[in-house]
């Protein structure tokens, strides 16, 4: 019933956590979006994050990916302090993300969206592009091939040359995930990947998330779809009003009374 101490659990694996958040706080104007949030994510796990709207889940993602700095607190990736690094350096280190409201590049086709995702893993610069040396051509061909392979993995290879905006919504979600994977991340932050998907698509998304984890990629998942979160997550953190309300295995969370009151529905209060 009580929160198990996460720290102890992770130490049992004998591995340092890949991501560690220590006392992160963030306020917007007078609104405290996050207050003294601390937790760890160990290598290879799927960590679900749930909480009502405005609980600070997306804010937390933005702090981790570096879209804005925390007011206080520290963030460690692989034991390196990253909270002051610009976003692009964090991607290079291995933190990739998707967005709640899809952020595909609509001025590019499906293939180019995944190719641009490999930005931090390719090297061709301004002069290289102009000179178009054999090395640059080889890199470009390799980039195109691995983009197609990623598209193939999510089943979009035959859509490669379509404008990304022409894809059905569910496919756009898959495309955004393959774009994030193209940066060969070690941690993937998925912000509500199932929103707007039907039941069938959500089921396939669950399989995809597990397949990505099986490649050794650690996943943080913010998701409102409870059955998806509960079924794929190894651990779950519950955020409420910017604070960590509870954390534990899916089973522990489902039986946690404070969580039931705060999040799973008012009807629980009657019990």
């Amino acid at each position: 019933m009580k929160d198990p101490e996460m720290h102890d659990r992770d130490r049992e694996d004998g591995e340092a956590p890949i991501l560690r958040i220590c006392g992160a706080s963030k306020a917007f104007g007078g609104v405290q979006a996050l207050e003294d949030v601390s937790f760890e994510v160990s290598q290879g796990m799927i960590l679900g994050m749930i909480g009502p709207n405005g609980a600070g889940k997306t804010t937390l993602f933005n702090l981790i990916s570096g879209l804005y700095p925390p007011d206080a607190g520290r963030i460690f990736f692989n034991e390196a302090e990253i909270q002051r690094l610009p976003t692009h350096q964090r991607v290079r280190m291995g933190i990739a993300r998707t967005f709640q409201n899809l952020a595909l590049f609509e001025n590019m086709n499906v293939l180019e969206n995944v190719m641009v995702g490999q930005h931090v893993r390719t090297r061709c610069g301004f002069w290289g592009a102009i000179a178009r040396t054999p090395g640059v051509r080889r890199e470009e061909a390799a980039c195109r091939e691995s983009a197609l392979a990623l598209l193939d993995m999510v089943g979009l290879a035959d859509q490669a040359l379509k404008p990304s905006a022409d894809l059905p919504f569910g496919w756009q979600r898959l495309l955004e995930i393959s774009r994030a994977l193209a940066s060969r991340p070690r941690v993937l932050l998925l912000d509500e990947p199932a929103s707007g998907l039907n039941a069938l698509e959500t089921g396939r998304l669950g399989d995809l998330i597990l397949a990505i984890r099986n490649q050794g990629i650690t996943i943080m998942l913010v998701e409102h779809d409870m059955s998806l979160t509960m079924s794929v997550s190894d651990r779950i953190i519950v955020l409420d009003q910017g604070r960590v309300l509870a954390s534990g295995t899916p089973e522990e969370i489902q039986t946690h009374s404070a969580v039931r009151t705060a999040y799973l529905g008012e009807h629980c209060e009657q019990r």
Partner: protein, 328 residues
């Protein structure tokens, strides 16, 4: 599966690069043919101006059309290219080719200095920042009269020579300018179809998303700003040595607006659109001499109509209409 993706990949690659090589080859052929066919000095002169404006438009299109950063002060770089070379050749007896290096270099330097703070701005703020910069440079051209000749302009700019070949003659200059246009086209094309080009376009798509996939947006914005300033200065250099006389009026706010109009009319993010936009807006004033007084109004009207009815630009718009009529 590996074989499948490689196959696909090769097909995609050969298709797109073949088309482009073909198009650029066709354009080179057309340029050569026009050089032989056109006899009239005035026609050649107009073609030279189209070429200079195409270089300008290609540069601004990389910044505006592909990267989505609006500059309303690009005539300043055009002017820096023209005035630096003009001053060095007229007052300091530099040979024009020697003056090319400092005039491009100064434009690059100024672009770096202006770009570092302004490119932190976005949207309207960037437009306002560059607008202010353009005005300052215009005033410098006008007021620094011991070098620039003030508002009455600077005359006697020498023409270009390559060895014994004098490029004063319209036709030789025409080949020089269009050689530069073809070079710029190829370079722009290569940039856009590369890792760098994709990064630039991602910034246009969404700056946040571009950062989130690891693009150093500040650095890329600065690079493309500097490169487009470089191309504007190159165009300015050609312009100054082509007509031998420059005055601040060619580099004022209206000139910046004209450049933006060329990009928008031809089509944002379209290299061939840049060629079309530059051609149309160079020819239009020639055809509509009667409207000289109302140039600003005509440009404004064209800009409005294109934005409302053909927001993708004239080239894309016309192609769409053609395709629709064929399908119907």
């Amino acid at each position: 599966m590996k074989a499948f993706t490689r196959n696909c990949s090769e097909k995609i690659m050969t298709q797109s690069s073949l088309h482009e090589t073909l198009r650029i080859g066709l354009l080179a052929g057309a340029v050569a043919a026009a050089g032989i066919l056109f006899d009239n000095a005035y026609h050649i002169q107009v073609l030279v101006f189209i070429g200079i404006n195409t270089i300008l438009t290609l540069g601004l299109n990389l910044l505006m059309g592909y990267t989505g950063q609006i500059s309303l002060g690009h005539a300043a770089f055009y002017g820096i290219g023209a005035y630096t070379s003009a001053i060095l050749t007229v007052h300091f007896q530099f040979s024009p080719w020697l003056a090319l290096v400092p005039s491009l270099g100064l434009a690059v330097l100024v672009a770096l200095i202006v770009g570092i703070p302004t490119l932190k701005l976005s949207g309207y703020y960037l437009a306002m920042g560059t607008l202010g910069f353009g005005m300052i440079v215009f005033i410098v051209f006008r007021e620094l009269d011991f070098w620039t000749g003030g508002s009455s302009g600077l005359a006697g700019i020498p023409s270009l020579k390559i060895g014994p070949v004098d490029l004063t003659s319209g036709r030789n200059f025409y080949y020089l300018v269009w050689g530069a246009v073809l070079g710029t086209l190829v370079v722009s094309r290569r940039l856009i179809e590369s890792r760098v080009g994709r990064a630039l376009r991602s910034i246009h798509g969404s700056e946040h998303a571009a950062m989130a996939i690891g693009v150093n947006t500040q650095a890329y914005k600065l690079q493309v700003f500097v490169f487009s300033a470089f191309l504007a200065a190159l165009a300015g250099f050609l312009y100054a040595h082509c007509i031998g006389f420059i005055s601040p009026g060619s580099f004022d706010f209206m000139a910046s607006v004209r450049m933006v109009t060329m990009v928008v009319i031809g089509g944002m993010a379209s290299i061939w659109g840049a060629l079309l936009g530059a051609s149309l807006l160079t020819l239009l004033p020639e055809w509509l001499h009667a409207f000289a007084e109302y140039e600003m109004i005509v440009y404004g009207l064209i800009l409005m109509l294109v934005m409302i009815f053909l927001p993708q630009g004239l080239l894309r718009g016309l192609l769409d209409i053609y395709e629709r009529s064929r399908n119907a």
